[in-house]
Symmetry: C2
């Protein structure tokens, strides 16, 4: 009970930032003396501190607010994206404290290379962290299908990975004595946008993440749709074009990602063999907006397929919000009329009446922030087990800092 209450209070300040005791009491449905006691415990463990609200001047006596100790407790977050490998130190409260990034080659990058690069970046971040600060966990986002529990990549089409022990290998290479929690990038994006982005307050949420492929993260009643084995939400391989569709990395043809991914757009714009990546996508969308007819036709064509996919999802999930992330942010901005027209044509009026369409609020950091949230799970479920002031059964897991073993 008490552990739950401590976790709930810490979760509130982690997600919402500084909150007064009165606000916490109202959110948690308990009285202020309970908040006082919980806050005292968390403060003693170094997880929060109380102080005047920002912008307070000397006059009067402002009511204090509870703040997360963002510099002191942090997680390592990793993002294996289609064009880069990212590592960050993210503080309690969700602030990115420091980051390192490496471009990566498309396709054919092996497990050893990815793990070696990420572990190197991670160790740099740990070495540069302030003395006495605490690494509370490690989370990673990967652009593929992840087995829950152990972070095994069951299928990573863009890299050609099948059954690669990514989570375990990265944990071993980091040598921090901490497990690495791994999630699919779009799943994590959905959770991040729900927690602190364009989907806040919408427990029935669809997040679509586009780059070379198109991934989906779907929340049903505030929970990630897992399915029997945790592999649900594979929106990218929904067949939308059954007649001569474009070939897909999965081996099939006409999948949503084959028709709406980066290469579909660049090919439709007549830019096959030219520049690739997020900048190239933005260039097509920008040229379309500036009146280039070939670029405009390409954006419209991709928007039509995207709209069909979204209409199908609206029929199936009756969502409160659909969020476009990754390069689909740019595509949606350019193709909103086509997407709206397809939804009007193919989604049932009752199903679509409450569905808002948004671009991701966390922008390029959506999946990285999602990975950080995964890393914070343990701390938020049992705050005092991670604090340096408490007796620790496992010294490696909470040694006051997490410099390499």
């Amino acid at each position: 009970m008490r552990r739950n209450s401590l976790g709930t209070l810490l979760h509130h300040v982690h997600v919402s930032g500084p909150l007064s005791r009165a606000a916490l009491a109202e959110r948690m449905g308990v009285n202020r003396s309970t908040i006082l006691a919980l806050t005292a415990d968390l403060a003693a463990a170094g997880l929060v501190h109380e102080g005047p609200p920002a912008g307070t001047t000397g006059a009067g006596r402002p009511s204090l607010v509870v703040r997360p100790e963002s510099e002191r407790f942090w997680v390592l977050a990793f993002d294996v994206a289609v064009d880069r490998l990212v590592a960050a130190r993210v503080g309690l409260g969700g602030t990115i404290l420091a980051r390192r990034e490496r471009q990566r080659a498309r396709a054919g990058v092996d497990l050893e290379t990815v793990v070696g690069t990420l572990a190197g970046l991670g160790r740099e971040l740990v070495a540069a962290a302030p003395g006495g600060s605490v690494c509370a966990g490690v989370g990673a986002s990967y652009c593929g299908m992840i087995r829950p529990g152990d972070g095994m990549v069951r299928y990573g089409p863009e890299m050609g990975w099948v059954d690669q022990a990514f989570g375990a290998e990265l944990a071993a290479a980091l040598g921090l004595g901490l497990p690495v929690a791994v999630g699919n990038e779009a799943h994590l994006g959905a959770l991040a946008e729900f927690q602190r982005g364009a989907g806040a307050g919408s427990p029935d949420l669809i997040y679509l993440h586009g780059d070379v492929g198109v991934g989906g993260g779907i929340l049903v009643g505030g929970k990630l749709l897992g399915g029997e084995g945790g592999y649900g939400c594979e929106v990218g391989h929904m067949l939308v074009n059954p007649f001569g569709g474009r070939p897909c990395l999965c081996g099939s043809r006409g999948c949503l990602e084959a028709e709406t991914g980066e290469y579909a757009l660049l090919d439709a714009a007549g830019r096959t063999g030219g520049a690739i990546g997020a900048e190239a996508v933005r260039a097509v969308v920008g040229d379309a907006a500036a009146g280039d007819p070939v670029a405009a036709a390409a954006v419209a064509a991709i928007g039509d397929w995207l709209g069909i996919g979204v209409a199908n999802l609206i029929n199936l999930f009756n969502p409160g919000v659909v969020i476009f992330g990754g390069m689909l942010r740019d595509v949606y901005r350019g193709a909103a009329p086509q997407v709206a027209a397809r939804i009007a044509e193919h989604a049932m009026p009752v199903s679509r009446e409450r569905a808002r369409l948004r671009v991701s609020a966390l922008a390029a950091d959506t999946t990285l922030i999602g990975a950080a949230e995964l890393g914070f799970t343990g701390l938020l479920s049992d705050p005092l087990s991670h604090s340096p002031g408490q007796a620790q059964p496992d010294p490696a897991a909470a040694a006051g800092s997490c410099h390499p073993a």
Copy 2:
């Protein structure tokens, strides 16, 4: 707490039939003396009785089993299906005690006619019920989109209904002093098959109900996928054929139900304008199996579209089981090779590895049983509030029987 335990015990014997005290103790994780006390309360209220197991002979002293009082506590269940209107008295335990059925015309049947017919059948069933027996609730299944809470039909394409107060009108016409809980037929079918059919033990379940249209009921983690407004699961209007697809009752073209519903099959078999309904569908599938090449090609073509729809659902939901109900039972039996081939081609291997394909075990009664389960919800959540031996705040709701007011 006690109310919950009483409801849980009653739920177990309702779903599983006679159970020994030992079996109940094990399922509920409590000791036998608790089961004894709970059983005594439920028996005093007339909801269960204890006796020797079925098939017991005189020799020895068998351990007693707890049985639901199926004849004494029952619900009225209604099913507004595409070709008929059904009313049934369904006993605690799920047994259909009595039923009445009327064929109905296709399309254009108005609310007043449907409500009048169903209420008449319902009153007949109530009048014929044994004296002293108790009507514990009323549930109804409707082939359209239903607003949660009040049973408003938001959209019933086959009948052309928009915003018709079906639940309230049926309750008024019955005059039993009981509300009518209404659900979409495929939603209720999914719950029924999960509770006592082909999906038992599979909390991630997809139920597809076919007739003129194709409805879906999808369970995610054992709960019906509702979405923001309760209108999720509209699988029938997933666009599968974006190029010149068949027109759909919803006004669009190429929807899954337009390509796989009854008329699609009959038209493909060259039987446009002939017999319609379940028998006509079975005739096509039967002729296909017997070697009629036109019928075989029709079944295969429908099976291809059905397989595309199922593959998409497997990618999205990673289900443990997909169940074919209504006329899709027959179509799936005839078109299993096409469905399997499309799944192999379009569903990700990781997504489909645990997905079993089954036909509905409750057959033509799936949706009716689902409606009955909806009717039992109140009794199972608070068993003693419905018993005639208890003080009742609302005499109309539990008057010992529910003859028309």
